[in-house]
Structures are given as C-alpha cells and as structure tokens.
C-alpha cells in the first residue's frame, strides 16, 4: 500500500474535523461521500453552493462540507434556505437534514417549500429515528418498531415521505438507499442541476439507536437487506411506495419542470406593475 493518505474527496471536506462524530456504519457518512462526488461531477462553482442543515446527526453535515454552510435551529433549515435561495438567485442551495428534522419538526416548512417550488435541493436522510437525541419515534419509524418513546412498539401510521413531497408540489423526487451509491450519486447530480424543488430521500441505517434496540444486527445487515430486497421502480406512483407495506421501492419517481417561486413572483409583478417592477438580480 502506498503512503498517500488524502482521500479523493478530501478537497470538499473540512478535514480538520475528521474523523467525524457518526457511529461506525452510519449511512450519513456514505451519503456525504456520494454528495461530494456529485458536486465534483456537476463541476459547480463552490462559492455559489450553500449547504443548510438543521439539528440532528444529519444536521452535522453542514459542518463537514467545505462550502458556505448554515447550521440552523431544529426543523428550520428549509425556512433559512428559502430566504437564502431568494436573496442569492444565482446560487444553489442544498438542504441536508434528517427525517426527524424535515418531516416532523420542520414538516410545515417542507410542505410549503415544496408547494411554492422554491429553487433548492433537499436531501433527507431517513434513518427511522431521532439519532442524536436518544432514539425517539419519528413520523418515519416503522410499525411496531421499538423506540425510546415507544417501549412496546410504535403504533402510529408511518409517513410516505416521497408521496408527501410529490403531493405538496416537488418537481424532482427520488428515493435511494445508501447501498445504491452510484444511483444515489447520479440522483444527486440530477437534483443539483434541477431548477425547482428537488427532493431525495436516502434510506440509511442507524446502527446504534434504531438497529440495536430492534435487534437488527450491525449496520452492514441493513445494507445487505437493501441489496436483496430493494426494488427499483422508476416513475412509480408515489402513493404505492410507502414503507409500511414491507417492500422497499426505490428509484426516481418524478422529474418535471414547473416555474419556481421567483419566476412566478416576477411574472405576477411584471403583469401587475409593468415597467415599474425591477426584478431582483441578487446582491451584486
């Protein structure tokens, strides 16, 4: 083995903070690995890429990627990102957060950011639990799964996250697992190039607080499960892709182009005000 230790994606990481805080086998690290490769593939100007995260294990991503980043309050990553996207129209804003942050605490922001088709990319790492705060139930915890706030098993209905995004108005929606690294990288590349609200759900193992409590073995066992059981159905009706059926349906579900919030605003204002309206072109 040679002595060169720099990893190919070290240029996009804050290497002084690595090794990171994620547990051995945590899927967040693999998804960040795919994300850095997608950034490289798109070849974007790093001064025009902003990563916004909320709170949680996945919320730490903003601290490890070496671009301008925001570590915001719990659930409000999308609210911060909406403002950032509107005030820097020439930039790409990426929200990188977890299922608890985006679908539970920030659920309202998620549906309205999707409804308004704000130009941003949302990467939602779904590990079925609140990892950082001790393994509580989230809206994505499967039926009967144990959690610290459900010692006899979860009895709530589970969110179908891609269906939530599509029905709220997202224009690019995909779901992959951290096992499907090449497909995930390709989806992230597409989402970064997409104009409008793009949403990727990444299914990921939480070996410490979800899998150990539910006696599912090591992280690699869930990866094996994804390898053997995940079914790729591109363009599937998102109403049928809920995880409660026991099937893991993955793929690119929706990819359409719709006017974004800024485009709609400018069109309406030009119609109403005519020449008096001066569109905002960013802070020059």
């Amino acid at each position: 083995m040679t002595e060169i230790k720099a990893h190919p994606v070290d240029g996009l990481l804050r290497t002084d903070r690595i090794p990171h805080i994620w547990c051995p086998g945590c899927g967040v690290g693999t998804s960040v690995n795919c994300f850095t490769r997608a950034i490289e593939k798109v070849g974007m100007d790093l001064d025009k890429l902003h990563v916004v995260s909320g709170i949680g294990c996945t919320g730490r991503v903003a601290g490890y990627i070496n671009v301008d980043s925001f570590h915001t309050t719990h659930g409000r990553a999308l609210a911060f990102a909406t403002g950032l996207s509107l005030s820097r129209p020439d930039s790409k804003v990426v929200v990188y957060s977890g299922d608890g942050d985006l679908t539970a605490i920030g659920g309202n922001h998620l549906i309205h950011a999707a409804r308004r088709n704000v130009d941003m990319t949302v990467i939602c790492v779904n590990n079925y639990t609140y990892g950082m705060t001790g393994g509580q139930v989230t809206p994505t915890t499967p039926d009967k799964a144990l959690a610290s706030t459900a010692p006899f098993g979860n009895y709530e209905y589970t969110f179908n996250v891609p269906h939530l995004a599509v029905s709220s108005g997202a224009t690019y929606v995909a779901r992959w697992t951290v096992f499907h690294v090449r497909q995930l990288t390709r989806a992230m590349t597409k989402a970064l190039r997409h104009k409008g609200f793009s949403f990727i759900e990444v299914l990921s193992p939480c070996p410490t607080l979800y899998m150990r409590r539910n006696k599912l073995g090591a992280a690699v066992n869930l990866m094996e499960y994804f390898k053997e059981n995940a079914v790729v159905q591109d363009g599937a009706d998102t109403a049928t892709v809920g995880l409660e059926s026991g099937e893991t349906i993955i793929g690119e579900f929706v990819n359409v182009r719709k006017p974004t919030l800024k485009e709609c605003y400018e069109e309406r204002m030009s119609e109403a005000l005519g020449d008096e309206f001066v569109p905002y072109e960013g802070d020059k």
Partner: protein, 89 residues
C-alpha cells in the same frame, strides 16, 4: 488498456487501495461490498480500537474505488495503477 498477454494481466494487479487507518471505524462495508473480494478484515486494531480491513488479495483489486464510495469515514479508496506501476507491483 490491459495487455494482450494473459500472463501479464493475471500476475500484475490493475489497482490498489489506500487506507487511512486513523479514520477507519471498522464498519466492514468495504470488505462486504468489494466486487472482486480483494479485501478482508484483520484482527489488527487502530489507535481507537477499531478492527481494520486489509488488501488480502492484491492481485484481485482492479482499482474500481467502490470501497471509496461506500466508506462512511473517508478512510479507504481504490485507485487504478498505470501500466508501469503494474509491472513494478
């Protein structure tokens, strides 16, 4: 790219892996998902006490870098060897 001569392609590896032992947390993803089965876990521990993988079968490695894509800790990566390096190995 590869030589027409079969004996050369069999004996000289097409790629190799580089491991940053201090970053590794021993999750075994690289070993489990290596498409050619070139990596294996060892009983060797790093300073934090995690078990380390190793390139047990260097002749099988083709430098595809799938280990580098799976690694959640940015610790391992594969790289293809140029023809001259292949002969040296």
């Amino acid at each position: 790219m590869s030589s027409k001569n079969d004996s050369t392609t069999e004996t000289s590896p097409k790629g190799t892996v580089v491991l940053n032992e201090e970053r590794c947390k021993g999750c075994t993803y690289c070993v489990r998902f290596c498409p050619t089965g070139a990596l294996e876990m060892t009983d060797r521990l790093n300073p934090k006490g995690y078990r380390l993988p190793t390139l047990a079968h260097p002749e099988k490695c083709n430098g595809c870098d799938l280990c580098g894509m799976y690694c959640p800790d940015f610790a391992i990566y594969g790289k293809r060897l140029k023809k001259k390096q292949q002969e040296e190995e």
